[in-house]
């Protein structure tokens, strides 16, 4: 059974979300297959928390984030969001027009601060655009709002008339954050917000995101591949592998007592910044499966060292094996797996 909504205080509830991209071939561009980028993903986010979404490249984490915001249209499944004014709304069924009413409450911060800001717009125009489109403010009030937003993300309002090229990566990411904050959103999807930044700048931006969350009671879906960053910022973490969530739990439970073999291997693979703890990683044979041509049964079974016969035949469901600990593995209850060793 997929994650049941017995939880209270939810902000977002995603059930069985699917996003397939067609593969076309031949002269007539007929659809001959599909890349199942997201294939039956269920999760929920509580109001005010940070859910980390981790996985290797191509696992569908970015597609999940974008589909939730309807930047991509889902192939199937439901996305329910609790809008502060409208109450529970079905994001997956709304028209483009109807989405406009919800969009102010759902925003996104992109990975690449170099391509997500229009080089021909000044910082003032970039940050004020959402306010103008939604007719929130104009004239001097607009200018004051922008100045206020820039101060809030730690930038000087005097820089308002400059263009993005005049700023460093960290500062650009701050501009992107100011733009996302402009309409007082509830939920912000952070899609790899610090992976393009230098380590010292990364810390500044992470601290800023944490401060803003506290001040403005924000909820984050934090998508990243860096497991140490995700551990630092998340309350709960979901691990994706080839379009599926394989495990979702409290950060602490997931990192220190993982229940899925893939999570165990991921944890062991992170290079620890400590020369006294040089461990040999768990050998994961082979490569990440292709979402266009996945293996039978559990997608992870060809690389799993615990795989038994059933794993190649039956796809395991995501089950709650402990309160708030969801795992998709046939042997989640039996396996004794090793988490991060401290």
């Amino acid at each position: 059974m997929a994650a049941e909504t017995t939880q209270d205080n939810l902000l977002l509830d995603v059930k069985d979300l699917k996003k397939y991209f067609p593969i076309r071939s031949g002269l007539l561009r007929r659809v001959t297959g599909a890349v199942k980028a997201v294939d039956g993903v269920s999760f929920f986010i509580r109001d005010g928390e940070t859910l980390g979404l981790v996985g290797e490249s191509g696992c569908g984490k970015t597609t999940t984030g974008r589909t939730i915001l309807r930047l991509l249209d889902p192939t199937g499944g439901t996305i329910r969001f609790k809008d502060p004014k409208l109450g529970w709304v079905d994001i997956d069924k709304m028209s483009r027009e109807e989405m406009k009413a919800v969009r102010p409450n759902m925003q996104i911060i992109f990975q690449d601060p170099f391509s997500s800001l229009d080089p021909r717009m000044t910082v003032e125009r970039i940050v004020s655009e959402p306010l103008v489109i939604n007719k929130v403010a104009s004239g001097q009030e607009l200018k004051d709002r922008v100045a206020d937003l820039l101060r809030r993300v730690g930038m000087r309002p005097e820089y308002m008339s400059r263009y993005p090229h005049a700023f460093s990566g960290g500062q650009r990411q701050r501009i992107g954050i100011a733009r996302a904050l402009a309409l007082n959103p509830k939920l912000i999807v952070c899609d790899e917000p610090v992976s393009a930044l230098d380590v010292s700048i990364q810390a500044q931006v992470l601290n800023l995101l944490e401060d803003l969350q506290e001040e403005l009671k924000l909820t984050y879906l934090f998508i990243a591949h860096d497991l140490s960053v995700v551990e630092h910022i998340s309350d709960r973490v979901a691990v994706m592998y080839v379009g599926h969530i394989v495990e979702m739990a409290d950060t602490e439970a997931l990192y220190y007592s993982p229940k899925h073999p893939y999570t165990e291997a991921l944890m062991a693979a992170v290079p620890k910044p400590d020369p006294r703890r040089r461990e040999r990683p768990i050998k994961l044979p082979g490569e990440v499966a292709s979402p266009a041509n996945p293996p039978s049964g559990c997608y992870f079974h060809p690389r799993c060292r615990y795989a038994k016969e059933i794993c190649s035949k039956v796809m395991p469901e995501l089950q709650e094996i402990e309160p708030d600990h969801f795992v998709a593995c046939h042997f989640a209850r039996e396996l004794k797996l090793r988490g991060v060793v401290v």
């Binding site: 140490s228 551990e231 990192y255 992170v270 620890k272 020369p275 050998k283 994961l284 490569e287 991060v340």
Partner: protein, 368 residues
Amino acid sequence: MTAEEKMTTTTTQTAEETAARAVDNILTIRKLRTWFFTDLGISRALNGVDLDVPRGKVLGIVGESGCGKSVTSLSILRLVPRPGRIVSGEILLHRRRKAPDGTITEETIDLTKLHPQSPEMRAIRGAEIAMIFQEPMTSLNPCYTIGNQIMEAILLHQDVSKREAWELAGDMLEKVGMPNPRQVLLRYPHELSGGMRQRAMIAMALSCEPSILIADEPTTALDVTTEAQILDLMRDLQADIGMTIIYITHNLGVIAQMCDEVAVMYLGRVVERASVEDLFYNPRHPYTKALLDSIPHVGSRTKRRLASIRGVVPDPYATISGCPFHPRCDAYMPGKCDQLVPAPANVAPNHMVRCYLYSDEGEVENGG
């Protein structure tokens, strides 16, 4: 403080000293300045780099973008692109040759004196010093098969027939743990995954058994589980072949796992150099300390606030008087740090740091 004095002397060294150092070091870099003469001004990418690379060890170079870590490796290979060039300094390669009768002869070559396109330099590139780059897709030629490209490297430097070179290429792929190595020889780069491409790059780099391998962020573009495989492979190969690796990365986790010694670079200078153990457990330079504090550790459990370094790395055209880190440093001493560049000081055996907290000596810049 003899050791300290030795470090602070200018480029002129006695013959004995050079000889003594050459015993352990395969590469000695002294006062290296590589500048880029652009329309916007002079970008001092390397501004006096001193670095000893010990033979048979893994030396890590760590720093943020723009600190000069990649330019250092390009300078060693004499591949600095225009408008950049080596302005001054020396890069001494202490090459060992084994004669047929078993005697080992050693010669020292100053790479800065060689012309980048000279036959000597081209013989060194690939055969003596090889390099693997960050993005394996852009450093492999998409028009040729993997086998062709590895074979080309072998034929350039070794006196073998085409058939033998092809066999050697297959053996190399096997050595780096490539699945189905003989079939991969016939594949094109786009048919391989990121991890396999990086294995192919490593096979190519190692095909001529170089004594130094420069790895410039070889795993940055890879996923964690693939990264772990590649790091594992490089460790095994290093232990096997006993080559020297210069490992360039911004990831302190990788440094801790891979390296024996570490050099921390900031704005074109090495600001601290120590054994990996000392660097992580007893860092001295304020920049190193701040860098270590600013990374989230997996397994730290405590939700401590990350320490961040204020400000940003200054743009390369800016000239900062004194210690280049002083505008961002918490231990900044006005009137001291902003005057002269601190001279290197040995705070412990094999632990060098450039900071006025440890030595009062400043360094008068020459040639600037």
